[in-house]
Amino acid sequence: MSDAVSALNGQTHDGFARVAEAGLRGMVTIRADLDSTALAAALGALGLSVPAKRQIVSAGDTSVGWMGPDELLLLCDYAQAPHLCADLSAALAGEHALVVTVSDARAIFTVQGARADQVLQKLCPVDFATLPVGELRRTRAAQIAAALWRSGPDELSLVCFRSVAGYMIGLLEVSARKGGEIF
């Protein structure tokens, strides 16, 4: 849909790291029995697997992260989300599961640069020195809920609710401001 806009239209700030709202991203919440073979098969068809506790697995543009003992978050192309949601719903039709599109309920951000960790170190109670690639962390950024993971070399991705996107970019901008390098 051409009328769809992300919360901040890709707002970007360059400090000692680059912080950006990453535009629209497809997201689907899956609540189900994570041991379900139907779930494994459905994710397998996308080249994914059921992530282990606190993990995020990727195949190309699509990722799926562990959000809780019975909850996953699928990340995909924005336009694909309703279709994937329908496919997964159909695949899990025979069992107790809830699959819903949440793309528009969220905002996604990236923090890029050699000192990207230091931006989030100021906001999130996370031990970044021991945060490996492939781990998804549900945490908070100052006063709001957030989830984050390493999405590339020198890059972290961060998801929060759409309504607080403005607060999030404010946090990231001030925390990445030049002169604020921690080390």
């Binding site: 809830l98 759409r162 401001r177």
Partner: protein
Amino acid sequence: MSTRLAKGGRLIDRAVPLNFTFNGKPLRGFAGDTLASALLGAGQVMLGRSFKYHRPRGLVASGVEEPNALVGLGRNARFEPDQRTTTTELFEGAETRSQNHWPSLDFDVGEINDKLYKFLPAGFYYKTFMFPRFAWKHLFEPIVRQSAGLGAVPREADVDRYEQAYAYTDVLVAGGGVAGLAAALRAARTGQRVMVLEQTPHWGGRAPVDGGQIDGQDAGAWVKHAVQALEAMENVTLMTRTMLAGLHDHGYAIGYQSVGDATPGDGRPRHRLWRIRAGLTITATGAIERPLAFAGNDVPGVMLAGAVRDYIVNWAVSPGDRTVIVTNNDDAYRTALAVLDAGLTVAAVIDARPRAAGPLAQMVRDRGVRVLEGRGIAKVHGRKAVTGVAICAQAGEGGVIEQIACDCVAMSGGWSPVVHLWSHCGGKLTWDAVGAMFRPDASRPPLGDAGQPLAQAVGAANGLLTLPEIMAEADLPAVAEPEAPLEPVWAMPAGAKEALKFKSFLDYQNDVKVSDVQLAAREGYESVEHTKRYTTLGMATDQGKLSNINGLAVLSDALGQPIPATGTTTFRPPYTPISFGAISAEARGEIFQPLRRTSMHAWHEAHGVAWEPVGLWRRPYTYPRTGESHRTAVNREITNTRTNVGLLDASTLGKIVVKGPDAGRFLDMMYTNMMSTLPVGKCRYGLMCNDNGFLMDDGVVVRLSEDSWLCHTTSGGADRIHGHMEDWLQCEWWDWKVYTANLTEQFAQVAVVGPKARMLLEKLGGMDVSAEALPFMTFAEGTLGGFPVRVFRISFSGELSYEIAVPAAQGLAFWQALHDAGGEFGAMPYGTEALHVMRAEKGFIMIGDESDGTVIPQDLGLSWAISKKKADYIGKRAQERSHMTDPDRWQLVGLETLDGSVLPDGVYAVADGFNANGQRHVQGRVTST
């Protein structure tokens, strides 16, 4: 008079002179100076006035314990009062101002208080201002407020920024002196992650000044090599200018880093507050020297012996040409040697002990200095600067034996381990009679979750006051001059007369004297905590770092009990004051608090909205046009909605999907009425109560499919109700097959309301919205104007109404499309106040207006929404209790004024008579109007 020495100065760089001012007077120091060393080096001995008696005061110490030398620093938006000169680094252009005087530092009207000391004893305020009662507010308080307080309050908002950072470590070392560095090396070599925090800009603590040898090297050289070794290790983080301010439960520690204090305006944050999780905290915080309590021990020029040594060795500043040293221990003799090495004169060493026979004393004697044994200072001469001392027998009551001219007095009453961090989280202390000090009791440390020690004290902080003892703890050999034992001296002379005790200061910052503590004891104060509050001992910004031990020793003596029986006051974080900026960090201005915005937020703003805060959301209250009051705007919006079509941004409404085989059963428990019987495609209004029966939320429930429902909640209630549902599912009915998802933010929602609402939607087109296809309390999915929508025929306003949900990313475009298409129908946005009025006029309740946490649905005439058929729902049992069924409970009723006027919101309907408190009886109040 103090001055800068021509040579020396371990920490200063004479090639980099820095200009600064004191009370407008231009002065000069060097890079590496503190404000204190720069002021002293520039000949400024007197730096301020005391709090209560306005006595002239100068530097006493060289570190965090300094009670007197506080200044106002900076100007305008960078002005800050009460800055401790001893811990503030000098920078180019620093503007400093002395405090506590009027009109000037040299001539101060408040000095009259000093003459009135006999009339201003401990508890003076408590005793004096009790009667008459009215006088406190109108007479005493205004006067006290004008004369009290330290620095001036800043007048402008702070332009600097502040931040916080999280850190995780196995071992956290507080203090970068030799004990801390040695402990850090040992821990780091085991491969653990180690953080070392040093509050000053320099490593090594006192050792480079005090001398001695460690592992075959000079202490200074050993420090350098130890730091190099730590810097080379990947698992070690070293931070200077960072104080460990507090140690809390579970190894949570707060560090306070000075980042940009000395470089204002360079873009760096001023302070950074560290929130650290540490497996073990090693407190290597050193020791603080105790003053001696003799008459006039606060005259500018009377300093701690260790501080005199620091100023000479570290910054090449001479506190005076002729120094008298007064001590009860051997360490102070090191100061005599430092003074002599700088080419200055030691007029005499006054040793309170009957014999001064240690090797350090001998070294001083050998250089031709007079050592007076068994002597004390009866009195210090001078007012704004020391001019001499009167000598007496320590054992006597102060009869003067001789006079010695001097311009500096270096005093030492022994050293107290810094046990603050150890004590913050419950570590216990033990009294060490030999050292006359409280030291950490290693058998009773602060404990972690599994009973493990959270902290370990090392070095001087552990009561080890000599270099060989300190390094032996780390298995390193060290050599220093041996010291003879000290002798506790809590009053000088021991039998000081009243007149002397009136001028023997314990707490410099709050002007508490030996006489005040003794008076408190005579008046019946036995607890040290009570005495502290009565006399204000240790209650100033320095938190009694110099005064606590001396004060409780005096109290113990007055009570005739041993010191450990008196105990200490409580050590509370932070160790020294930390800035409010660092505590609030990024939370100011735009990001003081998260602000929740709907997809249409910017449109509202561009159309002159007046906002209403709803939870963290901002909702349009009304859209006043030029010249319109809010009230006329609201009336216009209502009229338009009732005659044409109104548009409301209802995106904030909570939207929770509930799905599963047990979802119907679950919702029957959540709501007071039946939801399991709702046909697919239909909507039903429901009430939600808490387990005490009180109404907590309401909204329309929609049955989406056989096994899924959509629950609308109030705007402020979405997160709370979602949490409430998950709470019951996870904790009580964990075996029920129900999943929930909070989709509040997935959808933007618009209420299209009014007689022309249907026409507007039909113009957009895409689905059948006729009364036949979409009757009241049903919903349908489809498209409108090309937007994927879910349309609910529900009404929050009582008018013909469609609630339309679109994906939030298209919310603004849909809202715009409605306005574009709605022009011919008179479409106009309306706000929450218009909604409230329309609801109130229809008799619809509003959660938060008609409910306040004490109201049950039955009070609101909502018994029709309570199922009589259900065996149970949350709140049912509670609503059957006698008080809930009392016929005298207030009931919601509708009122119409006879003259058409509007009742003010919240007013009381009064009844006859008054209650026991003299308040008028009431029979009701207006909840909505």
